[in-house]
Structures are given as structure tokens and as C-alpha cells.
Amino acid sequence: MSTELRLKVETRHDELDRVSAAIEDFALEADWPLDLAFKVNLALEEVVINVMNYGHDDGLHEIDIILTTEEDSLTIEIVDDGRPFDPLHDAPIPDVNAELEERNIGGLGIHLVRKMMDDVQYRREEGKNRLTLVTSLAK
């Protein structure tokens, strides 16, 4: 049996609260382990905030978020009409081994997404970025 959650958020930071609340509810309903809700929240926030911060030059835009759970996996699709951005190739790669003085935060969000999700796929289609994240639901 598959279940689905669809969210539409505007590109402003205070929408993050609504996203996290919806994920918490969904997680509770589906009886997810705590660390899974954390992981999903984190991956979503990092992707969505990138779009909010860098996706557009002006105005409010919408981001579509679709979560689909199958028996043993969760797929998260994030769709935005911002400038083309492929996090797999366009994000800076952070040096997670640098000393404190040289440490930079750039690219860390996307690094976390790639490490926490089992699969990340990017497509540019019909003028939109479509990012698909997959993680296992195995407990």
C-alpha cells in the first residue's frame, strides 16, 4: 500500500515550520522511527532553503513537495521553477576535513542530503528543477 503527502510552499523561510509540522504528522501516522523523521526533515529543508535563497531573482514562487511511501521505501520529489540547479553537479563540495580556520559552510547542506539519502536524482524538465530523493524505510 502506498501513501502520499503533497505540499505546496512559498519561497519564504517561515514556510519551513509548516513543512516540518506536516512531516512530523506524516511520520507519526506512519509510525516512522524518530531518526527517519529527522533525516527527511533535514533533506527537505536543505533542498527547499537552497531554492528559497538562490532559485529566483525576485518575487515569491511556489515549490511542490511530494512524499510517496511504498512498502519499504520513501520517495521525496521537490519541484521548483527556479534557475537550473543540479545539486549533484552544481553545489560546491565542502572540505569536511579542513581545520577550523579554513572550514567553510558552503555546500554542506547538499552534502548532508547526499549522505542521508540512499539515492538522489536530478532532472530539468519543462523549465523546472525536479529533484528526487529516495530512502529506505527499513527499521
Binding site: H13, D14, L16, D17, S20, L34, D35, F38, K39, N41, L42, E45, E46, I49, M52, P94, V96, N97, A98, E99, L100, E101, R103, I105, L108, G109, H111, L112, K115, M116
Partner: protein
């Protein structure tokens, strides 16, 4: 997003709670900056009541660590949840910031 402070053996303990995310990281940064005086020599950030942190929150912790290093002060974080500890490890933050299981352990470590 507030930061409360107390003092233990000349170490400043800064504590916050809830979520540290992209929506409130700036507020967290301002509160933390206001709580830490430039004369501090040892600071522990207690994350026991923090349930969630994203890269926006990690950025604030990194900036704090850097600024404390500049003022020649010691810095540690303590009482991380399992998920937050994992984020620290994936980010390599555990290599540049001292992480302790408890507040007392952190305070003891900074004494030396």
C-alpha cells in the same frame, strides 16, 4: 529562539532548545553572540534540549567556534542526540569541535 546561560567553574554554559533551522538560525546566532562576551575563556554549548539542527544551525556553531578560537577561548558542545551527533560526524564537525556526552564532562575537559 532564546539562549540561556549559567556559569560552572569559570565556564560559560549556553543552552538552547527545540529546532535550529533555516527559519530561526539568524535569531539563534544573535542570541548566542549576545550571550558570549569577548572576555570569555571557556564556553560549552549544551544541545541536550535541541531536537533538530540543519546546516543553517551548523553554520552558527561553526562561526561561534571560529570566533572563540580568535579570542583564544576553549569551546565544546555537549549532550547531542543520536541524530545530531550523526550530523556532526557527516559534516566533519566532530573533527574540529570537541563533543562531550554530558555537561560535566565538557566542563571538566575545558578546565585542563
Amino acid at each position: 529562539m532564546g539562549v540561556s546561560t549559567e556559569r560552572q567553574d569559570n565556564t560559560l554554559i549556553a543552552k538552547t532548545e527545540g529546532r535550529i533551522d533555516g527559519a530561526n538560525a539568524r535569531e539563534f546566532q544573535d542570541a548566542l553572540d549576545a550571550a558570549i562576551d569577548s572576555s570569555e575563556r571557556a564556553v560549552v554549548l549544551d544541545l541536550e534540549e535541541v531536537s533538530y539542527i540543519s546546516s543553517a544551525g551548523l553554520r552558527v556553531i561553526l562561526l561561534t567556534a571560529k570566533s572563540l578560537q580568535k579570542q583564544d577561548a576553549k569551546f565544546a558542545v555537549c549532550s547531542l542526540s543520536e541524530s545530531i551527533r550523526e550530523i556532526f560526524e557527516i559534516s566533519g564537525f566532530d573533527q574540529i569541535i570537541a563533543v562531550h556526552d554530558s555537561r560535566n564532562e565538557a566542563v571538566d575537559a575545558l578546565k585542563n
